[in-house]
Amino acid sequence: MTRRIIVGVLIAAMLVLTVGCASRNELTRGPDTFDAALRSARGKTVTFYGWGGSAAVNSWFDNVVAPSMLSEYGITLRRVPMNIDEILRKLSTERRANQTRGDMDVIWINGENFYTAKTQGLLYGPFNARIANFARHIDPDAPDTNYDFGVAIEGMSVPLGRAQLVFIADSARLDRFPTSAEQLLELARANPGRFTYPAPPDFTGSAFVRNIIYEIVGFEAINNAPVDKAAIKTVIQPALDFLNQLEPYLWEQGRTYPADVAALDRMFLEGQLLWSMSYTPLKAGQLIAQNRAPASLRTFVFDEGNIGNTHYVAIPFNSPNKDAAFVLIHHLISVAMQAAKLDVGNWGDLPVVDLERLDDAQRAVIAGVNIGQGVLPMSELLTKRLPEIHARKVAIIEELWREEVLRR
């Protein structure tokens, strides 16, 4: 008898835990104007959820953004480190449980995750037109203002920063840098075993494979291809053939690949490889500044351009302090914060503010930032910047790479 009661209680407890508690409150309304947000947000705490895996990024939030939020707007910034997949899982559970008062006010998001969040109704908005600095500093016609990995933004997020795939080599060890796929093949042939790339689904390795696809078949061809494995395979077949042609000259004759970009970096810094790559465009400057690499390190991209993406901030549907979220986002895209973010001593992330929209004093602030040694100037990165393709094609390409290149 006792057993049955205990088993019953356990089952009941499990059901309660699984279903979660539903609350019947109304969602907090977002502010109608930015001025209203400024007034009502004072004295509140705003909670930011985002990836916390980088000490530099965390330090920028905690030591630059948080103190200035408090002194300029009287708002306390609370940062909760959490991976985006967990954030979205938490939000979608809250959505199903009809929990109208969540814990997150601002989340850090892009790409496939933005697509999921937007299509599952996890975001508040459209709101970006109501952010004062968005209207002031952001170019409304820039591709990344309107599309995130090929997904229409429609006012649901605000760009925070820009990243771009770059290649890194040591000018003391390599006198000519490969600035096209063909040159890479030639150079790898001349230096067998000294080049390779991280195996997708590593983020950087996956971007490199897409960059090769752009080189060989062009951005338009893959961008116009339908989201279908067979169709994509037909379109990218020449690029897969190229990667297979490159393979025998790679590290370990391409029988295996470094599992992630950290492994690639280590092999490069220890002299085993002649190049490395990074989705952080100022990475070379960071390595030199940290004394992990010689000052002869140089950054380069392909002549036809390298893939770049933009990362964004958005507001969850059940944010309890949407007014404070408005102010935080406004502050994040201010010239001062964007300049501090660009500083290689802080984070080294490219700004999203449109230089043409700034006055001379603001432009001077951005131009005066220390971006470090051995890096490409922002102007060159921006002119050699290719957009990302639709998020759903990325996973299909990774699968095709495994089947057609890794396991061939």
Binding site: T2, R3, I6, V7, L10, A13, M14, L17, T18, N83, I84, D85, L88, R89, T93, R96, E112, N113, T116, G193, R194, A199, P201, W251, E252, R255, T256, Y257, P258, A259, A263, R266, M267, E270, G271, Q272, A395, R402, L406, R407
Partner: protein, 281 residues
């Protein structure tokens, strides 16, 4: 009443975890209850490769560490080397966390590691690429080195204690009757050691089968063990991948549970035999 409820309370966290995992793997919360995620996993080539690889790695690690450990225990018994300091040396690998051993193995056996540098210094190789790939390799040598370093001393310690507990008179009688040392070891001590070896084999197999961090850090991208595969699906944003990840977890749990059942029934049999034998002399 307290005693009656205790096992249920102890089992509750496990049951809760398994229920949630199983629920997610059936697509609960995503698409309604369905078995299609299980089918998707079972029909996937990556899963089959993964399952075979995981089982092979675990089987080889178990076989080598148990044979090696038992042999070491016999050698210690024979050499009467069961003293304090020998035990301390054996304890060191056992108490070292897997993560630490993984890092140490990496730094010693990588192409730019200690051994490679030594080989270069001695003039055997001209550069890191000539050093054989011993970590991240498709034969899982790096992973195996971690398991063996941890498990051989573990098996040896357990077997040695067990061997010491067996009266040496059995061996003396055998020798008196003309048995060779090999016969004494294989015909007398090994059967008596069987329950112990069954236990250590199960522990070593279960660990190697379910371990995540070692294959995650030292494995090749060519194939991945089941826990690594489950993790990569888990961090994939596709909701279907989430369900497939949980389905793999359920399969891992089912295989482990099956092993435990096989083990408990065999051990009961073996120890029964041993007890009835033990009363005769």
């Amino acid at each position: 009443m307290k005693a009656a409820s205790k096992p249920y309370l102890l089992a509750a966290p496990l049951v809760l975890f398994l229920t949630l995992t199983f629920g997610l793997s059936l697509g609960y919360e995503i698409s309604g209850l369905t078995l299609r995620h299980f089918l998707a996993v079972l029909w996937n080539r990556d899963f089959v490769v993964s399952l075979v690889a995981t089982l092979s790695v675990a089987a080889v690690a178990t076989l080598v560490s148990n044979v090696g450990g038992a042999a070491l225990a016999f050698a210690m018994l024979k050499a009467r080397a069961g003293g304090e300091w020998v035990r301390h040396i054996l304890q060191l690998p056992v108490i070292m966390p897997h993560l630490v051993v993984t890092v140490v193995v990496f730094h010693i056996f990588a192409q730019t590691g200690v051994l490679a540098r030594l080989a270069w210094w001695l003039g055997f190789i001209d550069g890191p690429n000539q050093f054989p790939l011993l970590v991240f390799d498709h034969l899982a040598i790096g992973i195996m080195l971690v398991y063996l370093y941890k498990q051989i001393p573990f098996v040896a310690m357990v077997c040695f204690d067990s061997l010491r507990g067996i009266s040496h008179r059995f061996g003396d009688v055998g020798e008196n009757l003309g048995a060779t040392p090999w016969q004494v070891a294989t015909r007398i001590y090994l059967p008596l050691l069987k329950p112990t070896l069954m236990a250590t084999a199960l522990i070593t197999f279960a660990f190697a089968f379910g371990a995540f961090e070692v294959p995650f850090l030292l494995g090749t991208p060519l194939w991945r063990t089941l826990p690594v595969e489950a993790y990569l699906l888990h961090i994939n944003i596709d909701p279907d991948a989430q369900a497939r990840s949980m389905a793999i977890n359920v399969i891992i749990a089912a295989i482990s549970l099956g092993l435990a059942l096989v083990y408990s029934s065999t051990v009961r049999e073996v120890s029964h035999v041993r007890h009835s034998d033990g009363e005769r002399p």
